[in-house]
Structures are given as C-alpha cells and as structure tokens.
C-alpha cells in the first residue's frame, strides 16, 4: 500500500531550490520548480552517486524543439550529478545523455503547508 510521508514544510524549500530528505532508508531529493513539486531518488543510476547534491541549472539543447539551433533550454529543471556530471531533467526523470536511462519519480502532494511524498 502506498503511504504518504510528510517530508518538509513548503516554506523550507522555496521556489528554485531543493533539499534531500530521508524516508526510512531512502534518500529522496525534493524539488520546488516554479511551484511544481518533484521527488526523485538521491541515487544516480550511473555509478550510484548522490545525484540530488548536484546543482540546478539549464542546459544546451539542439533539435526540433530549438528550431535546429543551439539554445539554452530547461532553465531551472536540470540537476547535474556531482560525481560525473550526467545531466537529468527532473520533471521528466530523463537522462539527457542516455535517453534509455530514467529516474524513478515519486508522486508528491502539498497539503496546506506540508510537502508529502508518496511511496
């Protein structure tokens, strides 16, 4: 049965920031991206680095979405693993370098001033 865990107060994770919380033996990165909440494991699928200790930024894109021009994209949505700098798009859980690699995403819910993660 999925359970909800209160992991933080909304005021503790202002927009554009994130924090690592512990639920049981799991470490989870909780991100507030423009008022939208995301929760992902603090474990990089590459070599098990502490992914959510990485910095948030945008990144460079080039493709149909950027009209086949080099452009700065996904500002505020990319977390870069501190170990070997693999980039992850937090809202989709996608690894930019290896599209077949995906992060597990935990559902979140805000209840009043509480941020909850559902496991």
């Amino acid at each position: 049965m999925p359970r909800e865990y209160v992991v933080a107060r909304t005021s503790e994770i202002p927009e554009g920031s994130h924090r690592i919380v512990r639920v049981g033996r799991r470490e989870i990165g909780v991100f507030n991206m423009g008022g939208v909440w995301h929760a992902i494991p603090n474990l990089c699928p590459h070599q098990r680095g502490p992914l959510c200790e990485g910095a948030i930024s945008g990144t460079l894109g080039y493709g149909p979405d950027t009209d086949w021009k080099l452009d700065w994209v996904h500002e505020g949505e990319i977390v870069t693993c501190p170990w070997h700098a693999l980039e992850w798009h937090v809202p989709s859980g996608r690894c930019l370098a290896f599209p077949d690699m995906r992060l597990r995403k935990f559902p979140t819910r805000v209840d009043g001033a509480e941020v909850r993660v559902i496991l």
Binding site: Q47, E53, G54, A55, S57, C81, P82, H84, A85
Partner: protein, 371 residues
C-alpha cells in the same frame, strides 16, 4: 539449478569490503606555500607569490601551464574536486573502500610544460619533500610517486637517489603532458638508471592540455569532449612507441613501466599495430629480441577511466586482448572529475581471481606494497 546457487554462495564470493583494494592513482592538491618551505632560494619566493593567486581546477597561474579555453556555461559538477590533506584523503578513500593508494599531484601534472627548467626542478624537489613530510609520513596507507622534472633529467636522477630507500615512495612519476622529447629519448637515461637502481618502477601520467608539442596540438578541436577524448591516450601511445623504438625495456629489463589514466581499450590496438610494423621494419629496432607486444605485455596499466560499453562483458574481452587481467591495476583518479568508483570495476564480469588481481594484487606486486 542447485549447483549455480551453490557457486554463487561459495567462499569465492568477494565483496568490495572484503577485498584488498589498491588504488593506483589518486590526486592530492599542492600547497605552494607549504612547498616553499622546502624550495631553495629564490624559488621559495616564487612559490609564496603563487600561493597568493586565486586558482581554478587544475589551473594555477605560474605553476600549471595549460592553454585552456572553455565557454563558461553554468552547470557541471559542483563537487569539491580537490583533496587538501592526508586525513581528508583517508576519509574519502574509506568511503570508496580503498585500502592503499598511490598519490599523484594536481598542478604538477603539468610540470613538463613549465618553461624555466630551474623552476621545474625546484617544483619537483620541493613537492617530493613536502609530499613525504605532510602526506606519506602522516598516513602510511598513502604511498608516494616521486615526480621528476623532465626538463633536467640529471637533477631529477639526483632527487631519485636522494629519496631512494624511503619506503614512502613506490614509483617514479614521469609527467607526460606536453613532454618534449618523448620519454624514449636518450636524455632520460639518468632517470631510468636511477629508478632501476632504486628499485622503483616508472609511471607515465598525462593531463589534458593544449600545447605546441605532439600530441597536444589540440587547438584543432572546439570542445573539451574532443580534446579530453584523445589527450590522455594519444600521449600514452606516443610515449609507449617512443620507449619501444629506442629499446628502453631492453636496456632496463628490470625497470617496471606503468601507464595511468588513459583507459585500456587502446592498448590492444597499439600492440597489434606495433607488431605489424615490426615484421617489416625490425632492422630499425634490432635490439628488440621479441615482437613489441611481448615487451608491452609486461607493463602495468591503470584502469581509469574504465570504458563503459553497453555490454559490460566487452571490457573483459578487451582485457583478454592484452593479458590485462595480469597487469591492470584498479585506479579511481579520486577526486577528479572523471573518477571511477571501485564498485564499477569490481562489478565487471571477471573471474574471482582476476577480479582480486585487478582490484589490488597486481598493484601490490608492481608497487611492492605489503597487504
């Protein structure tokens, strides 16, 4: 089905924690002011000046020349990629389950590109003495590589003799980035003589740089992906060929030779290429009594940056192509940007005995370490 389960649970089942793990290549961060205490005048003054300059990753004006150019996009790793003390190194290595490690420098990776040979010698000598006092004597599980200044092989040989017999040092480090001439040249004979006499193997290690010497004219590329892809392996290939073509392994048969930070997948290519050339051009290298690959198969190779093919079993096949299981040494390159966690190499599908050799046994033999 039952036998398979039994096999998995046999005492052969090592874990990273239970194995004796030697890390053949980790990097320490120099303290120019600390080194100044060991430098002869006037170079101590220069080092104290350098200590006042703000530094960047592997880039310290006055000490680590490299014509680096990168567009400053935000992002990238935010991890601290330097280690400043023996205790900090020990605790980082504890997290990696590393029992013994061989220390290489940060800024002095670029030592061969320092222009003033007198300063290069002062840097090497003060680093070696500082390293021994502040790192090796402080933490006996850390072992030293004795850096030479290739700009002055005679002075370097003197420094090797000065430290010969100090058990804290386990190899002589030949900085390969931007080195000219390449390490097969006869000018380096004093270094090989002194190293062989001291019973220390030599280890070549490069670093990414753009420099007007083969194979570092990397300004032809636009990205660091391109430059870094070739900087280390091209440099190791060039020096490997150079040592071979002048017969260093023949002239110094007892000299151990090691290669760091170039991965391993280029090694089978190089062996086959040299053997092929040898069939036609043996007369140019008459001192070789056997095909080149037979000599190089006696050398030792650090694993980092270990290749990450989609099929991990491919790495085992690559090792087979150069007898790598008998000569490869796990190396993490901690704490640098492209370090390998030992768990990855440990988890590759090697046989249990090959795994033990690669994770520590080979390095213990090469560096003459006690378990």
């Amino acid at each position: 089905m039952a036998p398979i389960v039994q096999e998995q649970q046999s005492p052969e089942q090592d874990t990273l924690e239970s194995l004796f793990v030697v890390d053949a290549d980790v990097h320490i961060h120099e303290d120019p002011a600390g080194m100044a205490d060991y430098a002869p005048s006037p170079w101590d003054v220069a080092l104290r000046e350098i200590a006042k300059v703000p530094e960047r990753y592997l880039d310290l004006p006055g000490m680590s020349p490299r014509a680096e150019y990168r567009v400053p996009w935000p992002g990238g790793s935010n991890r601290k990629q330097t280690v400043d003390s023996a205790s900090e190194m020990r605790s980082g290595l504890n997290d990696l389950n590393v029992d013994r490690a061989v220390l290489f420098p940060d800024h002095l990776l670029a030592l061969a590109m320092v222009r003033d040979p007198r300063f290069a010698v002062a840097l090497a000598q003060s680093y070696n003495a500082w390293l021994r006092d502040h790192w090796l004597l402080a933490e006996p599980t850390l072992k030293g590589s004795l850096v030479i200044a290739p700009q002055d092989p005679v002075a370097s040989a003197e420094d090797i003799r000065r430290h010969a017999g100090e058990p804290e040092f386990v190899c002589v480090y030949l900085p390969a980035s931007g080195v000219r001439p390449l390490y097969g040249h006869h000018v380096y004979e004093p270094v090989y003589e002194a190293a062989a006499e001291a019973g220390l193997p030599v280890v070549m290690h490069s670093v990414e740089a753009v420099y007007p010497t083969f194979p570092f004219q990397l300004e032809v590329f636009q990205t660091s992906l391109a430059q870094h892809a070739v900087a280390h392996p091209f440099s190791m290939m060039a020096n490997m060929i150079s040592l071979l073509e002048t017969g260093v392994p023949v002239r110094y048969p007892d000299l151990g030779i090691g290669i760091m930070e170039a991965g391993i997948s280029w090694v089978p290519f190089m062996l086959n290429r040299l053997d092929k050339e040898y069939t036609e051009r043996r007369r140019e290298v008459p001192f070789l009594q056997e095909r080149p690959s037979h000599y190089i198969k006696r050398w030792y190779f650090g694993t980092q940056p270990i290749e990450e093919p989609e099929n991990r079993g491919d790495i085992v096949k690559l090792f087979e192509l150069f007898d790598g299981a008998e000569r490869s040494m796990f190396a993490s390159d901690w704490p640098h940007h492209d370090f390998d966690h030992p768990q990855y190499v440990f988890g590759l599908p090697f046989s249990p005995s090959d795994r033990r050799a690669i994770m520590g046994g080979n390095a213990a033999r090469f560096f003459r370490l006690e378990a």
